[in-house]
Amino acid sequence: MQRIGVFVCWCGSNIAATVDVVQVAQALAKEPGVVFATDYQYMCSQAGQDLIGAAIKEHGLTGVVICSCSPRMHETTFRKTCQKAGLNPYMVEIANIREHCSWIHKDKPTATEKAVILGRAAIAKVHLNAPLTAGTSPVTKRALVIGGGIAGIQTALDIADAGFPVDIVEKKPTIGGKMTQIDKTFPTLDCAACILTPKMVDVSQNEKIDIISYAQVEKVQGFVGNFSVTIRKKARYVDESKCTGCGLCTEKCPQKKVPNEFNLGLDTRRAIYIPFAQAVPKVATIDPDYCSMLKSGKCGVCAKVCAAGAIDYKQQDELITREYGAIVVATGFEPIGMDKFDEFAYAQSPDVVTSLELERLMNAAGPTGGTLLRPSDGTHPHTLVFVQCVGSRCDGGEKGKPYCSKICCMYTAKHAMLIRDKYPDTEVYVFYIDVRTPGKNFDEFYRRAVEEYGVHYIKGMVGKVTPQDGKLKVQASDLLGGRQLHIDADMVVLAAAIEPDKSARPLATMLTASMDTNDFFTEAHPKLRPVESPTAGIFLSGACQGPKDIPETVAQAGAAASKVIGLLSKDALTCNPCTAQPDELKCNGCSSCENVCPYGAISYIDKPFRGPNRTTLIRRVAQVNPAVCQGCGACTVACPSGAMDLQGFSNKQIMAEVDAICR
């Protein structure tokens, strides 16, 4: 019989206001095996934890039940408390009487009664708990960063700085990501390329960093410290080791009509191309969708002009499998499509552009060489209308994204300011719902746009844009002025909402990392563990976790790197001891469990057993690798004889909980 201590937490008034904590402690004190029961204002506080520790020692407790907030909150805290007091940490069970009781019920007697039942279930479980000891598994001291944008670059550099090898997998031919397409950055207005390209060079020159560009993750196996990742390196039909990046092929290629994705289709490139001058690796890539040689076997101009002999039309996709200890997701974002927003005439007029397209139109390396010209006729625009929150803050579903995209207010202020600065003869209108500027020097920046540069900020929204006679008729509301505005604009710029990159969802499935409904990766804890995924060994960097601007992305990238460094600097990891355990005496060796194990943690051995009458029987029995087993329990149900059980969530424990609840 266990000697169980019950500790009922008030959580201030969070629990105590709706649950009679004293009564709960008194009721649970009567349960068989309970030798001590008390209540306290904040069990998770130092004083509360001391109380638990003292009780363990004083009453010789062998099991502890804490009636408090969700185990997802403080299970670890209380396990540590008990461990300090000399009790095995797995002899602790939490009854969740806050999230699952006090916060959802209003009637005190009802909530109190339920709290008692939840406590009883936890007591019933603790009776069957067994001390568990965590095993260890080795750590592969190499990290994988998925995504080569500023987030991935910063994370990789920081990890490499600490001395650990890092691979960056980038799906595009070059690293750099969205930041390479941005002209200037807020609120300092320094040139994005000037701060990014040196970092890209650092990456390419760092011996610890291996860039696997034009590649995608294909398969992920294993677990924290021991991932095995298969990467598909797509054929670029150019031998990376030979190509010098001279660019001659990209000038001679006869196929000139390929939309240039780097400039968002605002101009064209060749079928063989280097995305931009500072690309890393600076290697040409043949676009198989447009190359006539690859499509019809006719042409071969690039091969003829290439002095290095780097062109290889026969190149195949290459599968690379490598071992990693940690994986960082840095898949970033992309602007949402504008096809659902007919009212802004994006599809009808080339002069309606997204903000990212405007970046290209203002960039010296862009299609217009940095002069702001209307895409329709190449003339200088005089009236520009910026529309904020296009597809952000919507009701969800068809309308758009329910969240605020966070960066639009600031880059719109930047655009407005830059245009007014460079072309003082233009009128710039910004239609906003709210201007959100929480950040260092952000509001000052916005005020400067209004006060120094005379940007017209109008509280209201554009309802309709109609192309007419070379102009864009903008109908909008001016809520503070109490009027409907009609503006004849030359260009309309849409602050399109941003969403996670499309590759994130399948990647999350491969990584078994969870995502929210918007496809942003979920963090292990929204406040306390913001750069870790709930899946151990998977870390989050940049906008894949939520909308972020560059400084935030870089900060988070560094934070993710430090977490990775922390992991890789360990020689071995403590495993989750709540793993499956076969009872060899009951095991049939039928392989049912092996069939359903998602981790390949189960193998079989032929083992001698003592049979009846001094005989020896050789039987095939299952073995679980505790370092690989993640404790899902799929095998326990697949096993017909019940030989497979899950430590910490055993059949008997769960049934005891059921009994306690139903009695």
């Binding site: 309308k399 209201g460 409907q484």
Partner: protein
């Protein structure tokens, strides 16, 4: 808070508190110039409980019910549905039957489809 606020919510089936005051409804409204109150104001007045004021305004009848605001509203607030609910509230407020069956024979005429009068009776009588 007006006694009507809940009625409007009930009839329209929309929650005006979802409004984030972007003004896109007003920006999109083709009848803007003829209105005393504008779509975003309908919503705001219901939210803040100024329903009687709205009900007293002839402006509510200038809404064409074109549903442009409903279509464009990023928050699914549906100002047109709200204003229609306000109009119905006005009818309810008038109490009793605005139209009774015995009035129907007098209203019949060659040009008007009989169906229209029956519909009007349904709409403008409490018992219906």
């Amino acid at each position: 808070m007006s006694q009507w606020t809940d009625t409007i919510r009930q009839i329209s089936g929309v929650d005006p508190r979802k409004c984030m005051k972007c003004g896109k409804c007003t920006a999109t409204c083709p009848a803007y110039d003829h209105m005393e109150y504008h779509p975003h104001q309908f919503v705001d007045m219901v939210t803040t409980g100024r329903v009687e004021e709205l009900m007293a305004s002839k402006g509510i009848y200038t809404c064409l019910t074109c549903f442009a605001c409903v279509e464009r509203c990023p928050r699914s607030v549906e100002p047109a549905a709200i204003i229609e609910a306000v109009r119905l509230a006005v009818i309810r407020q008038q109490g009793g039957n605005h139209m009774t069956p015995d009035q129907i024979p007098g209203l019949l005429d060659e040009e008007l489809p009989q169906q229209a009068i029956t519909s009007a009776l349904r709409k403008y009588s409490k018992g219906g």
